[in-house]
């Protein structure tokens, strides 16, 4: 599983070749919470993948042939099929690859996770189970996690002080192997953010 800490590709870079058989490629950016969703699912399901980081402040021209919106994450498989929009990529991976299913099989339970995803903020106060999908970690937790990870880094954890269940959830999430293997180092994230807010094209490669 290569490329997570590789320099990003920017304007003027050569387009990457086809995706080797047996792997799926994700176009990503190290600090993007949407792309992190896809990385979490790839990790959680043990899917063999390669990562190409994109410089979002100085995008390669060829990247728009992968996603007309020019956003990460994008999946590309060895058949040249492209999938974009983070939630769509996550669901595609769950359906296309074997192993533990992250979305429930039951149609109603699956619909509930999707309703929860839509009503994100309402659920924060009404949450009754340990994880957002029940008593064990599932898709909805991975979809929500990236924003909470960043709260801590940005020292905005006071937001969750009045919701002890949420603090417990965050602690439980940190124990998950997929989550802990992808945790962003606080200083690196702050360094990235400083440069990003200055519109620097170096932002995406901060720390490399």
């Amino acid at each position: 599983m290569s490329g997570g800490s590789a320099r990003s590709l920017a304007k003027g870079s050569a387009p990457p070749g086809p995706v080797p058989q047996g792997l799926i490629r994700v176009y990503s950016m190290r600090f993007c919470p949407f792309a992190q969703r896809t990385l979490l699912v790839l990790k959680a399901k043990g899917i063999g993948h390669e990562i190409i980081n994109i410089n979002l402040k100085n995008k390669p021209e060829w990247f728009f042939t992968k996603n007309p919106f020019g956003l990460v994450p994008v999946l590309e498989n060895s058949q040249g099929q492209l999938i974009y929009e983070s939630a769509i990529t996550c669901e595609y991976l769950d359906e296309a690859y074997p192993g533990k299913k992250l979305l429930p099989d039951d149609p109603y339970e699956k619909a509930c996770q999707k309703m929860v995803f839509q009503l994100f903020s309402k659920v924060l106060t009404n949450k009754k189970t340990t994880f957002f999908g029940g008593n064990s970690l599932s898709m909805i937790d991975y979809l929500i996690w990236p924003w909470f990870e960043r709260l801590e880094v940005l020292e905005l954890n006071e937001c969750v002080d009045h919701t002890p269940k949420l603090k417990l959830w965050m602690a439980a999430m940190r124990e998950d192997p997929a989550v802990s293997s992808l945790l962003i180092e606080a200083k690196a994230f702050r360094g990235f953010l400083d440069l990003y807010l200055q519109n620097s094209p170096e932002a995406c490669d901060y720390g490399l």
């Binding site: 992968k66 007309p68 058949q79 149609p107 699956k110 619909a111 999707k114």
Partner: protein
């Protein structure tokens, strides 16, 4: 039509539990979002009952079905509630046997969901155009924006260079090749999301994505903005093909009744929602 019943308003009694073997949809006869769900119920032959809600005078009990009182909502005999029109449609496809409206292939499923992303501004824009026209306001900018969205959807279809394109599509040779039709790629969107030959958004047969788009296209004429399709021939071909679908036809809303509803609605008349009912 199954949904030709009077609305429930404030002060009405809550309906009882849903009988076994049925699913209930809370709806409103003229709502495009609920229309999606009714199309799927019909297309899959799912036995259902419809309860229409008076959206300007909502029953208090309705907030126990949806936190903001929106439609559509599905309720089954296990008292499970499903809302958001797209989620409800997918639930029905998953939970009920028979004809699958979403493809089986994970990539094809993902493709339909990506196509849906191309559509997200259309509901808001069509509504804004309707309101502007009904209030006697200028809406050239809104119509331009809507035309642009339609152009984006048009790009999913290959450019067809043949005056008999539609007939030829239906009579392809046994080897699968199309006669007298030349396709050329229009854009990147086509390269990512398009097919070589397709009448509908999901391929040669109607599928979920077509039903999810349809309600707004059915309303263009009665909203007074049918001319927004002037520059999108493939979309016009698609609308013609949709109007031949038995499910679409069965639920087609009578034009004069729709206009009657709109007149009363824009006069803020709470009886608007029951316009055209004989009982």
């Amino acid at each position: 039509m199954e949904d030709a019943t009077r609305t429930f308003g404030k002060g009405s009694c809550p309906p009882g539990p849903v009988p076994e073997g049925l699913i209930r949809v809370y709806s409103m006869r003229f709502c495009p979002f609920a229309h999606r769900t009714r199309l799927v119920l019909r297309a899959k032959g799912i036995r259902h009952e419809v309860i229409n809600i008076n959206l300007r005078n909502k029953p208090e009990w309705y907030y126990t079905k949806h936190p903001f009182g929106q439609i559509p909502v599905l309720e089954n005999s296990k008292c499970q509630l499903i809302y958001e029109s797209v989620i409800a449609c997918e639930y029905l496809d998953d939970a009920y046997p028979g004809r699958k409206l979403y493809p089986y292939d994970p990539y094809e499923r993902a493709r339909q969901k990506m196509l849906l992303e191309l559509f997200y501004k259309v509901p808001h824009l069509t509504k804004e155009c309707l309101v502007a026209i009904r209030c006697g306001r200028e809406c050239a900018d809104l119509k331009l924006a809507l035309r642009q969205e339609f152009c984006n959807l048009e790009e999913v279809f290959p450019v067809v260079i043949s005056s008999t394109a539609f007939t030829n599509r239906k009579s392809s040779t046994p080897s699968g090749e199309m006669e007298n039709i030349f396709f050329h790629p229009r854009s990147i969107t086509l390269k990512i999301l398009g097919y070589q030959n397709t009448v509908f958004f999901g391929g040669d047969c109607i599928s979920m994505i077509d039903y999810l788009f349809w309600p707004w296209f059915e309303r263009l004429d009665v909203y007074g903005i049918a001319d927004c399709l002037n520059h999108t021939p493939a979309l016009r071909l698609w609308t013609a093909a949709m109007k031949q679908d038995p499910t679409v036809c069965a639920l087609l809303i009578d034009r004069s009744i729709f206009l009657g509803f709109l007149n009363l609605y824009f006069q803020n008349n709470p009886d608007a929602f029951d316009y055209g009912l004989t009982c």
